[in-house]
Every structure is written in C-alpha cells, then in structure tokens.
Symmetry: C2
Subunit: 517 residues, 2 copies
C-alpha cells in the first residue's frame, strides 16, 4: 500500500513519500491561514478532497500524487496553495507501442481456502447469487408489451413460486435500425446474447422477439453451451400472434409460468468462493475514491483472487493513462497484447468521434477534487489491488477464466454495469464519493462510500463506509476484510444490499458503437 | 396519386403506368402457373407483397416501380417471374451537389377551415392532446430512484387529481460518460431539453438530477420561453439529499404533488386543427406500406397542411434515395439547403461508422417484399403527400413552423419517435405491414395496418385498416379522410388508441452520435 500520512485536525492525506501535494480531509475543507500540525500554513481556502501544495512547486515542475506525475504546474504554486485543475498541464498518455510487458508480474499470493457461499448452481458451471426469471428481447419494439406482461406475471404468477426472487425484462434500445453490416455491431449483439446467460437467470433467459427485426433470435440464443436451439420453446415472436395483444400477453405469461416452475425447484447449495464473479466500479468519484474505498476494494479483490474467484475491473478511459502500470502486471504476453489491443481500439473509437480520454472527468469529479483524467485514473486503478492481471474481456464478451480480469468497457456507470453483467458478473460493488443511488435488477449492488459524511447522510443507501479509512477509525486492511465477508453474505442471500431492499433498478444500457441507420 | 390498377382474384397492383413490375395482393401469394385476368401467367410461386415482372426484363434493364428506377436487372427476368432482392443492382443515390431545388413546388391547396379539437392550451402557445405529469432526468443514474417514486405517485397521489391523465418518467441512457467536448453531443442534449417541453407535459416537465453528472440541469431547463430558471423549484438533485433514499422519494413526491395540483386545474378548450403536430412513421414495413397505408397518410397529411397544422415525416436513410424528389418540393432555397445539409451530415455519419444507407432494410422488410432501400424509400416518402416541404428540423430540435416538415432522424422506430416527441409532436401515426405493437407514453399512437389480414389478426392493436385500399373495399381518399377525422377525435381525448388502452409504453431512445468515454 502507498504510504499514508496525516496529521490531527486539521488533516491532510499524502499517499506517497514522493508526493508534493496532499488531499484535505476535513469536512468543509480548510480556511486560508489554517496551520497543520506539521507547520504547513494554507494560503488559499481549500475544499475537502482538494489538493494542497506541500511545498512550493515551480512553473513546469511535475505535480506528484500516488508517486506518479498527474501533470506539470502551469504556474508557480506557493507552499500551502490550492492546486486546481487549471494549474495542471496534463501529461500525454503512454504510447501503446512502447509499453513494458509483464515486467512486474506479482507472484501468486498463497491460496485462501475454506471460504464459501450458498449459491444456485447452473448447468453451464456458473453459479447464481439470486434466482431470477429473465425475459430478454431481440428489439425495443417488443418492450412495451413485455413490460405489461411482466407486471401481470409479478402480480398473478410469481407469488405461487416463492423460491424465485423476481422477474425481470432485459429490455434495451438495440435490435433494429442499426448498421448490421459493420464489425462494431458485434459488440451489442454479443452483449444481448451474454446478458441472457447471466448466472442469476439460471443460465438462460426467455426470448421475446418481434419477427422482422435485424437482430434475429438465433443471434440471441447461444447455440454453444446453452442447450437451446432456435426453435426452442423458450422463444416467442409477437408477429406470430394470430389473436392480437391478448394472445401476446397470454403466450408470454404461459412461457413464464413454465420457466418459473423450473426455477422454483432450485435450491441454494454450498459453493466455493471461487464461483464468485465480482464486477467492480466507481461512480460519482471524488479525490477520496482513490484513498479510501478503492484501496479497500483492491485489498478485497486480492483476497478474492487468492480464493480463486473472478474479479473484474473496467473503464478503459479511466485506466488508459495507467496503461504502463497494467501491461507490466499482465500475467503473460497474450494478456499484455489484449490490453493493448482493447486500449488501441478505444483510442481509435474516440478519435473517430473527434474526442479523446480527456473528456472523461465530469463536473462532479472536478468539484470533488479530481483535476484531470490522470489523477482520476490513478485513483481508479487502485481498485485492481496487487494481483497479476490474468485476462482481458472485450466489451460484451463473457469471462471465461478466473483471477483478476480487465473488462474493457466505457466508463459510464450503467453501460459498464451492463457489460459486466454480460461478462457473467453475479455480484457488483460500486464505490462513490459524491453519491449515486444506482442499482441493477440482475445482481446485488454493494455500495461503498469514500467518505463517512456521505454514509451518515445516506444510511439507507450506503452498505459499507470506507470513509473510516480517512478518519483513522479503520484502515484499508480492515475494511477490505469486511468487504470480502460482506460479499460472501450478500452472495448467499443472507444479507441484502440497500438497492435490493428498495428495488432500485436502473435499466440496461448497451454499448453500441455502430451507427444508427 | 399514382395510377392504381388491379385485376380481380388473383390480383396484383401496379402503381404507375411506366412500371414493369407489380405487387402480388392475394393473401398467401400466388402459385406458379397462376394466370391473372389480363392473361399474365406467373412462372414462379410468389409470396404476397412480392413483385412479379409484368413483361420480360432484359439483363441491365431498369426495373420500375412508382415510375421510378428501383434497380437494374442483374439477370434476364422472364414475364411472370418473381423479381427478388438478388435480381436487382441498386442504383447509386442522387449526388447531393446536383439536386434540383424548388423546381416542383406544389401550389398551396385551398385552406381547410372549421376543423377543431379539444386540447390543453400551454403558456408557450403549444397545445396538448393529453394532460400528463412528466418528470425528466439529467442522467440515467437517477432513473431507478425515480421509477420507485413514480410508482408511488401513481398509487398514492394521482388518484386525487382526476383531470391528469398520467405520470411519466422521461428516463434515458444519456447524461454522463459521453464525450461532451464534441459538436455531436448537442443532439442528445437538445433532445432531452425539448422532450421536457413536449406539449402533452403542460409545457414543462419536472427535472430530477444527480448533482455530479456531465449534463447539468441548466442545459435541460430551457432558459428561453419556459419561464424556468436553474434554481427553479421544479428541480431536485438527489445529491442534495441530507437523509438518504427516504428523503429522495419524499422530495420527488412533494414536487409531483405540487405540479399535479396545477395540472389538475386545466381543462380542454376548443382549438383549431392547426394546433396539431403530427409525427408520421412506418415500421415493420412491407411492400404494401407504399401502396395502402402510406398513401392514405399522405392524403391525410395534405388535409392537415391545408388546415394549417404541422406534419412531420422523418427517417433520413429512408428518404435519401428520393432526395431529388424532396429538394424539388422544397418551398424555398433555405429549405432545400437544410434538406441537403441534414442528408450530407447523415452520409458522413454513416461513412465514419463504415456503413451506408444500404444497411437499412431489415430481414422483415425483405421478407415483406421490399428488395432494397430504394424501393423502401419510394414507399416511405409517399407518407409526405403532395404538399410543399416548408421546413426542416435537425435531430432533437423543436418544430417552430407550420406545414409539412422533414424531421431529420434515424429510421429506427423508437429513436425516430423520441426525436419527433422532442420536436413537439402531440399525436403520432404509425403504419405497419409486418405488425409492431410499439407505443409511447407521451402521446397517443394511431396504428394503421397496410394489410387487412393483419388488422383481422390484431383487432386490439390496429386502429385503422388501410388494407381495404388493396382489396378494393375502400380507396386512398376515403381512408385519408377517415384518418384525418380519427386524428381529431383522438387528439380531443374522446377516442383512445389501442396503445393507450393497453398502456403499451416503449421507452425513450435518444440519438447520441457522440462517443462514450
């Protein structure tokens, strides 16, 4: 872990001994003239989570956080000065053709044995943490009818099947009116297909199609491994209806009842922790994300990897500036190559849209003290802990191996979450500094706050408060173990997350880089 | 109108005297060997809505439908032969720099006076056909919480306000994680803003934001004309919650109640037909779309234009091949320029994504007898009737003038529908051949079938059967007048469409050409 230093009230956090800036910890920030215990006098009023210069920084000099350059000073910054976004010239991202490969692969840590959870075993070897009826769609045209049917299934049928946790429609904007002749369209196609195979849906969702859409059911039903074929009874096309809307609803309800009866017979069984597929994400980030919540996630991630589980981190634009740190940790050449391939694809995708990764930090990120994408990146990659990177998953692909994986997704919360679901995620963890109430219908979402102030304000939304790491009440290791144990309890269904309690279900959001026609 | 000819059973339809192909009308198609009343002998079995060669067509010869070239024959086609997709070499689309401009502007038809409907007058001059509480969002993060609140508003508050027709959440995938530094991002931004101003929401939706998102409430609340400011009481940001989820729900419900009380005081008033803003669309099209339903829409569109209303047709890729026919009908140079500008933007958008307009027809279109985009286009543009084109609306923009307007949108049903809502549509009409149950929450959707067989099968989804035009039971003029009167009845709320009866509400789908970050 990076060196953590702070003085008593007023407090700041320095993360690495080479750093020439530190982060203000006090709620409400510090006023100009405040003197820290070590004698540092603040010469500007600085908000919480923003950066103070620990010593004078000359114009053009590197500004260091996490021991890494987050920019060079655009102007001379006095000791005790507020280091703001406008004060930093952003470094260029590491060139992809000159990255170190596999030069710092961490050795395997000793296996962590004996940890289990109670899950639902699927025929394809995956394990569900919930037992849900999923009904997917080939095209948005059918979503209105499906919503109507799902409401009636919930009200009229589901109560008879108490071992099923819920019924969800996998609706999306895709399926027609898209350039199906481009290679990029494979991303949303495989996403829809793999979402339907999420472990929490018992391995396969029902499929509702229209009939004339571009995305045909054959592309949604995976021929390999699922045991389902195109003419499978789990499929229904609305255009086959001979008796209008009434028949559509009846047919969907009948299909659902048949599948609910199957799902209802399932029972939880003791499964090794290695059956967990955790998706990690951060959203509404602030400068504490990289100090408290994300390091705790990284610690828990290392524990999961030692237990043989699958752990995914994501968000290409939020690791792009740390590319050199990731390729160095790649387990082998193939993984390093895959990392570079995905980042290169994304560079070109942004370029084609006349943008680059600097468009990432949001106004909220900046208000939260994150000056630019480099600083945000360093804080975000801390989530990945210290394990070797053992695999890379393209957007929409399914995770086929264990260990720490990079799932190459956009950084938007809901798009990233959707792609992690397609990758086979059965548990989601989400760190937030500014606060976001985002939830998913398909998997439990564990919410971790970066600051205690947020956890106090939102006691019915934040599951774990990592702000205790900044206040000194706890530390990364303690919160990391707490998270690890909480993951297993939530996976077993014996604890529920707040998003489950309130049924906060954000929609799926597909990543479709292909043009609309 | 094009020349319509058909013989008795078995029947075909020829649309223009120059045509060398005709469309098979009989349900179930015709078998090889069938002889039509005029002596034409079919030499292949041809499905309904597919094309028969009326005389031998030589290799390389033009194939004509609607009196226009839909392709050249790839092989010699015998008289009575089935003309399939693979038989046609598609013509190149008209070059945008050599189009005729304003060369065939139709003269204004005599005004149609005295037609009215009962609507809700808004402060901005627009008129609602329904009285809805809309609650919009700046970012998808808040959608899960909002859904929860909307459900409670519907159950607990709405019943006390009987003059309000419903409560809808304007949720979408946009708002963060997008390249906000690109010009293209203005399209979804203005779409979200203009959706909130749809006439059926009383002129302005409530706004629920998160707080740290890229799309800030100031960009959603139109400063001009709406009378709302950033600090307006109609706005609530979830990150302002001091007491978590419970407070979020309470605050949204309190806002909603205040707005419902206002909306509930409104009453319908007699308004001229000129206050209608009709959005026209076709989906799940077949070869009958351009013969029955779309010509009837075109006739009704001309009536509406004569009555002073606003009528929009859309779908750039479905008019691109008829660009020369549209620019010729442009009312003035400015309109012709705008048409060319929008088509040029779309050409470049597709090119950037390595596609072109040939990706448009879906497998269902093709199975329905539409060989290629040229043929689909000719059938689709018939919706626009014979009026002069008096304006062009960019994607996400609001219609600011009367008459026949081209609203430049992608062709996907739900994306086009969303952009027409943003343009200020207060009534939607949708023609379908293959059948689609698509509906919108914000406006009534009138469903028109291209074939009687579909209307018979789906009596609880199809509002008007235009298939009677093909069978000879009715004609374009009769069905056109029927549609015109039905529009006014539905707008007045004294008739409901089937999608309203069943509450079939497809989600909004934004058009976002900017890359995700």
């Amino acid at each position: 872990m990076p060196l953590t230093q702070y003085t008593e009230n007023p407090r700041y956090l320095r993360l690495h001994e080479a750093d020439n800036v530190a982060v203000i910890v006090n709620d409400g920030g510090v006023a100009a003239g405040t003197v820290f215990g070590d004698g540092l006098r603040v010469c500007d009023s600085i908000p919480q989570a923003h950066k103070v210069a620990l010593r004078a920084i000359g114009e053009g000099e590197a500004v260091l956080r996490y021991g890494q350059v987050i920019g060079t000073a655009r102007r001379a910054i006095p000791e005790g000065g507020w280091v703001q976004e406008s004060d930093l010239v952003m470094p260029t991202p590491p060139a992809l053709d000159a990255l170190p490969r596999c030069t710092e692969v961490p050795p395997d840590a000793p296996p962590l044995e004996g940890y289990t959870f109670e899950g639902y075993r699927n025929a394809d070897g995956s394990v569900g943490t919930r037992n849900l009826l999923g009904i997917t769609t080939t095209v948005q045209c059918v979503a209105g009818v499906l919503d109507h049917a799902v409401q009636r299934i919930r009200d009229e049928i589901l109560p008879r099947y108490p071992n099923v946790d819920g019924v969800i429609a996998l609706s999306h904007d895709f399926g027609c009116g898209v350039a199906f002749d481009t290679p990029d369209v494979q991303i949303p196609i495989r996403t829809v297909r793999n979402l339907a195979r999420n472990p929490n849906l018992g391995g396969q969702a029902l499929v509702i199609g229209l009939g004339c859409e571009m995305l045909q059911p054959a592309q949604v039903i995976a021929e390999q491994g699922s045991g389902l074929q195109l003419q499978d009874p789990w499929l229904y096309r609305l255009q086959d209806a001979q008796h209008g809307f009434a028949e559509m609803i009846e047919r969907i309800m009948a299909l659902a009842e048949r599948r609910l009866a199957e799902l209802d017979r399932r029972r939880r069984e003791t499964c090794p922790a290695s059956a967990l597929v955790l998706g990690m994400q951060c959203g509404g980030s602030d400068a504490f994300s990289g100090i408290t919540a994300n390091p705790a996630l990284g610690f828990a991630s290392d524990l999961l990897v030692r237990a043989g589980a699958t752990v995914m981190f994501s968000e290409v634009t939020e690791v792009r500036d740390a590319a050199h740190l990731l390729t160095a940790r790649a387990k082998d050449e193939e993984v390093a190559e895959a990392l570079i391939r995905e980042m290169d694809w994304y560079d070109r995708y942004l370029e084609r849209g006349h943008s680059d990764r600097s468009a990432n930090p949001s106004p909220g990120n900046k208000a939260g003290g994150l000056s630019n994408i480099v600083e945000k990146t360093l804080g975000a990659t801390v989530k990945s802990g210290h394990s070797a990177i053992s695999g890379v998953i393209g957007p929409g692909e399914r995770a086929e191996r264990k260990g720490l994986l990079f799932c190459a997704t956009p950084a938007g919360d809901f798009v990233c979450g959707t792609l992690q679901l397609a990758a086979g995620m059965n548990l989601h963890v989400f760190t937030t500094g500014r606060g976001t109430p985002y939830g998913l219908a398909m998997v439990p979402v564990v919410k971790v706050s970066t600051r205690t102030e947020l956890a106090r304000r939102w006691p019915d939304l934040i599951d774990v408060d990592a702000g205790r790491i900044a206040s000194g009440e706890s530390n990364v290791e303690e919160v990391g173990w707490e998270l690890f144990r909480f993951y297993l309890d939530v996976a077993s269904g014996c604890k529920k997350t707040w998003t489950e309690v309130h049924r906060i279900h954000n929609s799926l959001a597909l990543f479709n880089p292909a043009p609309l026609t």
